[in-house]
Subunit: 594 residues, 2 copies
C-alpha cells in the first residue's frame, strides 16, 4: 500500500508538470498492444488460405493487410516515439528544475549537514543519472500494456484450451520467483560493493585529477597510487567473479525455463495438430496463431513480472527525492515582520551553538551588544567560532540556545526576504559564478542600474582592469563553458566579491578574512577603501591580520567559543595577559625591525 501511495504522489507530480505526457504515454502503450494482436491473429488466416483454397486474390489481400497494418502501426509508433522523446526531455528538465529550485531554497542548515547532503546527492542521482523517473513512468506504462496484452491473449488461448494457460502459468511463476530471488541478491551485492567502489573511484579520480599532479610528482606518490588502484582492482575482480558465477547459474535456469515454455507451447499445440486425443484437431493456421499467442503471452507475463520488480525498485530509488523535496524551504524560516529601515542594534543574548549531530559547543553562552555604525573586529585562534558567529547572524543556522536580537527583536521573527536584504557578507570561501562581472555583482540578468555596478568596480579599484577587458563589465568570468571567458587573479576575484557585497547597500556588512590573497599594497588599498565604502553601516570583520582590528571601533575576542574580551584596541593592548595582546604582538613583533 505504501508503494501505491508513493506511486500516486509521483504521478500527480508528473501530471502537474505535463498532463499531455501521461495521456500520450497511455495511448502509445495501447498502440503497442494492438500491434501484437494483429500479428497473432492475421497470419492464421493467411496460412489457412495457403493450406486451403489458395485463392490468389485473397492471399494477396491478406498478405497486404498484414504488411499495411504493420506499416500503419510502425507509423503510429514512430510519431508517438518522436513526441514522447521530446516530452521526455521536457519532463527530465522539469524534474531537474524542481530539484534545483529545492536546493536553492531549502533551509540552508540542511546543506551543511552530512545526512542531508547525502540525501541531496541520492535525490539528485535519482533525478538525473539513473533516469529513474523516466524509467518509472515507462515501466508503469509497460505494465499497463502487458496487462491488456495478457488479457487479450488469454482470451485467444482459451478458445483452444485452458490446459495450455495453466502449463505456461506454472513455468512463468517459477521464472518470476527465480528472477526475484536473483534481483534481491543483485541489490544486496551492489549495496555491499558500494564502499569498495567508492574507495576505488576516489583513487582513480585522484590519479586523473590534474590539480593533484604537482603534489604527486613532487612527493613521488604515483607508485603508492598505482598500488592502491591495483589492490582495489583485484578486490573488485574477486567480487564480480562471484557475482557473475551466481548470475550465470540464474541465467542458465532462466534459459531452461524459457525453453521449457517454448517446448510446452509447440508441444501441446503441435499435439493438437497431429492427434485428436486432447480435443478436436486444429489446422496449421490455428497452430501458428496459438503458438504465437503462447509465445507472446510468455513474453508479456515475464515482462509484467519485471515491470513490477522494477517499479518497486525505482520507487525505492525515488525515496530520497521525495524526502528531499519535502524539506522545509528557507522562505518559511522567518516570521512575518517585514524588516525595513536600518540595523540599529545587534545583541547576542546567551547564544550557544552546536552543529547538528555534534556534541561540541562551537559557541558557548555568547553575549554582547553593538550599535548602529560600529565596526567590530572578531579575533581568535583557528577554530574559535568566529565564522560560525557571523553565519548565525546571516540566519544560516539557528542558535541551539539563546537569542540574537536585531533592533530588539529575535531575528527569526523577521520575514525572510526583507531580512536577507539587510545583510551583505563575504565569506572566506566566497564563490563567484561563470556569469558576466555585472551579473555577479548585481545578481540579476537584466540590470536596471548599470552605473551602480560600474561605480563599485571603481571603488574597489578594478576600473582599469575591467575596462581593459574586451566586453568591459559584461565580460564573462571563467572558462567553464565559454573559451572567451576571462580568468581573474585571486585578488581581483576578491575585489569583485566585495563589490557584490556592497551592491546590496545593506546596513550590515560582514567580511570574513576577505583579503588573504592580496599583496600588501592591494590589501592596504582595500583597507583604506573599506571605511569609506562601509560608510555609516554596521560591520563585522574577521581577519588573521591583526592590523585590521586597529581600524575597528571594538574588538570581540573569542576563545574556545566564549567571549573573552569586548573592547577597543587601545584598552585591550593595556591588558598584557590578554589573548588579544598576545595575538597582536605575535605579528607586530616582526615589523619592529625597520
Amino acid at each position: 500500500m505504501k508503494n501505491l501511495n508513493k506511486l500516486r504522489m509521483f504521478f500527480s507530480l508528473s501530471w502537474e508538470i505535463s498532463p499531455s505526457y501521461i495521456i500520450f504515454l497511455i495511448l502509445s502503450t495501447l498502440i503497442s498492444s494492438g500491434q501484437i494482436f494483429i500479428n497473432v491473429i492475421l497470419p492464421k488466416y493467411l496460412i489457412d488460405e495457403l493450406m486451403g483454397s489458395k485463392d490468389f486474390e485473397r492471399l494477396i489481400i491478406l498478405g497486404s493487410l498484414i504488411i499495411l497494418s504493420n506499416l500503419l502501426f510502425a507509423l503510429l509508433n514512430n510519431t508517438m516515439k518522436r513526441i514522447m522523446e521530446v516530452k521526455n526531455i521536457y519532463m527530465n528538465e522539469m524534474m531537474n528544475k524542481a530539484m534545483a529550485d529545492k536546493i536553492m531554497n531549502v533551509e540552508f542548515s540542511y546543506l551543511e549537514n552530512p545526512y542531508y547532503l547525502d540525501l541531496k546527492e541520492r535525490a539528485a542521482f535519482a533525478a538525473n543519472n539513473q533516469a529513474a523517473m523516466e524509467r518509472l513512468i515507462r515501466d508503469v506504462a509497460s505494465m499497463l500494456k502487458n496487462i491488456v496484452t495478457i488479457l487479450g491473449l488469454v482470451t485467444i488461448m482459451f478458445t483452444l484450451s485452458w490446459i495450455l494457460i495453466i502449463l505456461l502459468s506454472v513455468v512463468i511463476i517459477v521464472s518470476i520467483l527465480a528472477y526475484r530471488l536473483f534481483m534481491n541478491y543483485q541489490m544486496n551485492f551492489f549495496q555491499e560493493i558500494i564502499p569498495v567502489n567508492r574507495r576505488y573511484g576516489y583513487y582513480v579520480n585522484l590519479c586523473y585529477d590534474d590539480k593533484l599532479q604537482k603534489d604527486i610528482r613532487l612527493y613521488d606518490m604515483s607508485d603508492m597510487m598505482t598500488d592502491k588502484v591495483t589492490h582495489y582492482n583485484l578486490e573488485i575482480n574477486e567480487w564480480f567473479s562471484r557475482y557473475y558465477k551466481k548470475q550465470g547459474k540464474f541465467l542458465g535456469l532462466y534459459g531452461v525455463l524459457n525453453d521449457l515454455q517454448g517446448a510446452l507451447a509447440y508441444g501441446y499445440v503441435g499435439l493438437r495438430v497431429i492427434t485428436d486425443k486432447l480435443g478436436p484437431r486444429i489446422g496449421l493456421g490455428s497452430f501458428t496463431m496459438y503458438v504465437n499467442a503462447a509465445i507472446n503471452f510468455t513474453k508479456a507475463t515475464t515482462e509484467l513480472g519485471n515491470n513490477i520488480v522494477n517499479v518497486i525498485q525505482l520507487l525505492g530509488y525515488l525515496d530520497p527525492f521525495m524526502e528531499f523535496m519535502s524539506l522545509p524551504d528557507e522562505g518559511q524560516i522567518g516570521g512575518n515582520v517585514v524588516f525595513d529601515g536600518d540595523v540599529e542594534s545587534i545583541e547576542f543574548k546567551n547564544v550557544s551553538f552546536k552543529y547538528p549531530k555534534s556534541d561540541r559547543l562551537v559557541l558557548d553562552n555568547v553575549s554582547f551588544k553593538i550599535n548602529k555604525g560600529e565596526k567590530i573586529s572578531i579575533v581568535g585562534l583557528n577554530g574559535a567560532g568566529k565564522t560560525t558567529l557571523v553565519k548565525l547572524i546571516c540566519r544560516l543556522y539557528r542558535p541551539t540556545e539563546g537569542k540574537i536580537l536585531i533592533n530588539g527583536r529575535d531575528i527569526f521573527e523577521y520575514e525572510h526576504e526583507s531580512y536577507m536584504k539587510r545583510i551583505a557578507a563575504v565569506f572566506q570561501d566566497y564563490k563567484l559564478f561563470n556569469f558576466s562581472i555585472e551579473e555577479n555583482i548585481t545578481g540579476k540578468e537584466l540590470n536596471e542600474d548599470s552605473k551602480k555596478a560600474l561605480n563599485l568596480i571603481e571603488e574597489v579599484g578594478l576600473k582599469d582592469r575591467v575596462e581593459s577587458l574586451p566586453d568591459g563589465i559584461k565580460s564573462l568570468l571563467g572558462k567553464a563553458y565559454d573559451e572567451r571567458g576571462v580568468e581573474l587573479s585571486g585578488g581581483e576575484q576578491q575585489k569583485i566579491a566585495i563589490a557584490r557585497a556592497l551592491y546590496k547597500n545593506s546596513s550590515l556588512v560582514i567580511l570574513d578574512e576577505p583579503t588573504s590573497a592580496l599583496d600588501p599594497i592591494a590589501e592596504a588599498e582595500i583597507y583604506e577603501n573599506f571605511n569609506n565604502l562601509v560608510g555609516d553601516k554596521t560591520a563585522f570583520y574577521i581577519s588573521h591580520r591583526m592590523s585590521s582590528s586597529v581600524f575597528c571601533d571594538k574588538i570581540l575576542v573569542i576563545d574556545g567559543g566564549e567571549v573573552k574580551d569586548f573592547d577597543t584596541h587601545e584598552n585591550l593592548m593595556k591588558k598584557e595577559d590578554s589573548l588579544y595582546y598576545k595575538l597582536y604582538n605575535a605579528q607586530a613583533v616582526n615589523y619592529q625591525y625597520n
Copy 2:
C-alpha cells in the same frame, strides 16, 4: 587504411593486456553464429515431417534435437558471457590504469595547458564513461559473427535462388545508406549542441552545488539561476524537437524498408510454394527455412552495416586516447646526470618565461644567484611571477629563454628522479589526499621509518592533535570514501603539508605562502620552527606577510616579471623609493599603534 591501422594498434594494446580475452571473444562469436544456423535448418525437417509422414518418433527426435541444441547453445553462451563479463571488467580497469599511469607520469606542463587538459578529458571520457573500448571490441567481434553468418545464409538461400539474394541486397544497401546519412546528421547535431549543453550543465551544476548556496542565498541569485536554466531548457527543447522530427522521418523510412525486406522474403518464398512459375515448387518446411534464412540475412547485414559505422565512430572517439597515451613522460625530460649531494648553488641566467599559447612574459630576463643554506624571500605584487619562478625550479616548466643552473649545471641535464628528490615544495594550492596521515607525509603505503613521520608531526606542532585521533598517525584524512576519516582544519592541513615537504629531507625547500590560513599564534609558531626545521637547507619563501622576509638572508623583489632588487632586509629598508620599502610599510604601519 588509417582506420585499419588504428584498429590494429588498439588490438595489439588489448592483446598485451589480456590475450585470453581476444580468444574468448572470437570463440563466443562463432557460437552465436552456430546457433543461428541450427535454428534456420532444423525446423525445416520438423515441419517436413509434420506435413509428411508424421512419424511420431521422428517428430519427437527432431523436436528434442531443436530444444536440446538450443539448450546447449544457451549453456555455452551463458558460460562465455560470464567469463567475458569478468574479463571485461578487468580490461576496463587495465585501460583505466594505463590512462591513470599516463596522467601521473606525463610531462607536467601538459597538465596546465588547456589544449592537453581538454585532450585528457576526452581521452578519459573515451576510456571510461562511453565504454568505448569495450564497445569497439564487441563491435569488431560482432562484425566477425555477422560476416560468418551472412556467408552461411547466402549459401543456404543460393540453393533456392539468387533472385532473393539480389532483391534483399538492394533494399539493404538503401537502408545502410539512409542509416549512414542519419548517423552523420546525428554526429553533427550532437557536436553542435555541445556548447549549449555545456552551458546548461554548468548552470544546473551551480544550482545543485551545496558549496554555492551560501552566496546564492546571501545575494538572492536563485531567480537569476532559474531564469538561466529555463532559458536553456527552452533552447535545448527546440534543438531536440528538430532532431526528433528528423529522426522520426528516418525511422519511418527505415521501418518501411525493413517491412519491405520481410514482404520480399515472404512474398518470393511464398510464391515458390504456391506456383512453379519461378522455379520448382517447395514445401512448407523449405518455406520456413528460406524465410528464416532471409530474415536472419537481413538482420545480419543490417547489423554488419551498423558495426562498420560504429567501429569508425568509436575509432574517432579513441583518437584522443591514442594521442594522449603517446605524449612524452616526465621521466624522459631530464638528462642522465644523477643528482647526488646537496644543492650548493642556484643560478638563474637571463631566464624568461611565457605560458604556452600566451604572449605575455611572466618572467622577463631574470638573473640571480644564491648559495647553499641561504634563505630567500620572494616578494612582489599579485601576479608578479613569484609562483612561476619556483615552479621553474621544480622543473614543472621549461624556461622559454635562458637557463637555470644548479651546482653550475643546467637543471634539465639532471636525471629526473634524482632531481625531484632534492626539492620539497609546499604550494599555495597544495593538496592532501584521503589517505592516512602517515601515507600523506611519507608518500608510501608501507613505511620503513615510522618514527621520522612522528617526529615531524611533533616538530610542526601537531603531536597532541594527532595523538588525540583514534588511530593516531594512521588515521585516515577526510571522509571522501570512509565515514571514519577525520576532518582537519585548514591550519592543521597546512602543517601536515609542511611535514610532508620536510620528510623528503631534500636540500632545497620551497614554501609558497604556506601560512595564510593560520591564526597569528600558530603562524608565529611555524615561523619560529621554520628556521630550525629547514636547518642548513637552502630555502625559498613566498608570502604576502612581509614580516616573514625579516627572517630571510636575502629578498628577491619581483615586479612585472623582472628582478627589481636582490638584497638583505636591512639594505632594502634603506631605499625609501623601493617597492620593498613600500610593501613592508604598507603592513608595518598598522602595527605601530601599540
